[in-house]
């Protein structure tokens, strides 16, 4: 869906921060994803219009950066690190267990991600870009369910606050 009037106003404020509007491309795609749970083709067109770019250029940006989701809307992005410190502290098991567990629940997208820069808490994972760790499959599942049941307040799917 298009930006809500509030988010459209916010988008214009973001554009005004930069000497050239095009620089607002990434932040506006985040804003769209926080609003919709993914970055739709309509959002790409709207962002392109706001930053004065061709839609094709913004499509290229959307598909380059891993945080932007373009397959289907999601409620929770669970990012599990399996890079070299998490590799030797249980990251791969954490990822495989959670991926299998939520495979049939489209609301929860479990992703294998690269180093999240929290290796003192390995293995780590994020739910909508909030950090948790060191984790076991059991503790991670409990945390994810706390977000789903409202015990914890999740960020937007792009990690923003105003959804």
């Amino acid at each position: 869906m298009p930006f809500t009037p509030e988010n459209r106003a916010k988008a214009r404020e973001i554009v005004a921060l930069y000497p050239y509007a095009r620089s607002a491309t990434l932040p506006l795609l985040h804003l769209a994803q926080d609003q919709d749970g993914w970055v739709t083709n309509e959002a790409v067109a709207e962002v392109a219009d706001l930053v004065g770019a061709d839609a094709a250029q913004v499509h290229g940006v959307r598909s380059f950066y891993t945080m932007y989701k373009r397959e289907s809307p999601v409620g929770f992005v669970v990012s599990v690190c399996t890079n070299v410190t998490c590799l030797v502290t249980g990251g791969p098991e954490l990822y495989e267990t959670l991926a299998a567990e939520y495979a049939d629940q489209p609301e929860v997208l479990v992703e294998e991600v690269e180093c999240l820069a929290a290796c003192d808490c390995a293995p780590v994972f994020q739910v909508n870009y909030d950090f948790h760790g060191p984790a076991t499959p059991e503790s991670a599942r409990a945390v994810i369910e706390e977000y789903r049941t409202g015990v914890r307040t999740p960020r937007g799917v792009s990690g923003g606050r105003s959804v």
Binding site: F64, M67, T85, L87, E114, A117, C119, G159
Partner: protein
């Protein structure tokens, strides 16, 4: 003698863990006083008498002289821009993440001083997209700094104007390369650019630009507090001052430790991080992030001196991420996972990196899974020679940025230290397949 940290950049966040990121805590602990002092000097004084004199070198990985980098800006060309690199993505590096979340005002004060010194009126703090809390705290800090008159028009009555924008990335390791960062900041895919022209000459929006790492700018207020020459007395040789080392892997106490350069790997790993966990033996260590060639137990008493590690040990201190692996670790598994990282993060602009990283990962994968061939290691070295001609550190490269040669670090390390172990994991039955270039 027990090893101790020298907490300069990390002092506030260690002493005030409950509120180190707030402007109240920052002001109560001497915050923004060095900005006042800097604004009383001429920009050239800050640059030469403070930052250049301190010997400060970039803390992001390349270790280039900060004052020297600033001095490359062509005179008389404006506007100029400052970009602070907080896109920390080098595997097992987690120091900037800590600084962003727990001492954002220190970054901002350092950035304002840097912008003043280079005469920039627009600064951008590029924060890795995944650091949601960090971006939030930085944005709050920027808002508070504007409200207090530290950013904006006529800062503290000095006549100096500056706007600061917090910019979030969106998931791309390559945005941490300084020219990749500029492409990303311009709203493009984060593809690196050919140098020259260097960013100092043609950077953001094709204008003169300085890109400095988060830890680098965080150090600047302390250089002013101590005085550039005094700061230069810390450290060893041309590695002055302190650095934050992120120690992780098989150690008792993984974490960030700020120490004076010149201490040894043993001081860091055994003295501070508690040594290899469970009383096991050290098998190997990666001294400066995924891109650095590996070191062995016999290197534990070598000093943490950037030039020494590059020239004598054929590796690098890079981003300051020290990964420790115990005797039970399969080095091929670690090499494969690093190769997978590089293959996923290669931006695709240069063929040797795009194709090379893909094949390195595929070949290491088959070795890890018991389908390796005896000639596989030589095969990797054979085509790796087209990414890193000569295969010897410091790496030459056929690619625009350093990600290309970094893909070969794990392979060169396997060949250097674990050749027999790799060959033992390869299945002899698959012999007889020709090796290109052999």
């Amino acid at each position: 003698m027990p090893v101790e940290e020298t907490r300069i950049v990390t002092r506030r966040l260690r002493e005030h863990p409950e509120d180190s990121w707030t402007i109240e805590c920052y002001l109560a602990t001497g915050g923004y006083e060095m900005l006042r002092r800097a604004l009383e000097m001429a920009p050239a004084q800050v640059q030469d008498e403070q930052v250049k004199a301190s010997g400060l070198r970039g803390r992001g990985g390349a270790g280039f002289g900060t004052g020297q980098k600033w001095s490359f800006l062509p005179p008389g060309v404006y506007p100029r821009y400052l970009a602070v690199n907080g896109d920390e993505g080098e595997p097992s590096t987690f120091k900037d993440h800590m600084l962003i979340e727990r001492d954002p005002h220190q970054i901002i004060e350092g950035a304002i001083i840097a912008a003043y010194a280079i005469e920039a009126h627009h600064a951008f703090v590029y924060v890795r997209g995944e650091f949601a809390l960090g971006a939030e705290r930085l944005e709050q800090a920027v808002t508070d700094a504007y409200a207090s008159g530290f950013i904006g028009r006529d800062i503290l009555g000095s006549g100096f104007d500056l706007d600061v924008v917090v910019h979030r990335g969106a998931g791309a390791y390559i945005a941490g390369d300084e020219t990749g960062l500029l492409s990303s900041l311009e709203g493009e895919r984060a593809m690196p650019r050919i140098k020259p022209p260097f960013p100092a000459v043609q950077g953001l929006y094709a204008q003169p630009t300085v890109v400095n790492n988060v830890e680098t700018v965080s150090t600047i207020p302390h250089i002013l507090r101590m005085g550039g020459e005094e700061y230069a007395k810390l450290g060893v040789n041309r590695s002055t001052g302190t650095r934050i080392f992120s120690v992780s892997g098989h150690v008792e106490r993984p974490g960030n430790y700020e120490i004076e350069l010149g201490l040894t790997f043993r001081d860091l790993i055994e003295g501070l991080a508690g040594g290899v966990r469970g009383g096991k033996k050290l098998k190997f260590l990666i001294p400066g992030g995924a891109s650095s060639p590996w070191l062995m137990p016999q290197h534990l008493d070598e000093p943490l001196d950037m030039d020494h590690v590059t020239k004598e040990l054929r590796s690098m201190l890079g981003s300051g991420a020290v990964m420790v692996y115990d005797e039970d670790t399969n080095p091929v598994l670690v090499a494969w996972r690093l190769a997978k990282f590089f293959a996923r993060e290669s931006c695709g602009k240069c063929t040797p990196c795009r194709e090379g990283s893909f094949w390195i990962e595929r070949i290491l994968y088959r070795i890890v899974n018991g389908r390796g061939r005896p000639q596989d290691l030589d095969l990797l070295l054979s085509f790796g020679n087209h990414i890193v001609p000569g295969l010897n550190a410091p790496f030459a490269q056929t690619t625009i940025c350093a990600l290309g040669p970094s893909t070969m670090s794990p392979v060169v390390s396997l060949d250097r230290w674990f050749r027999d172990e790799v060959l033992a994991q390869c299945a002899p039955a698959a012999a007889g397949i020709p090796v290109a270039g052999a």
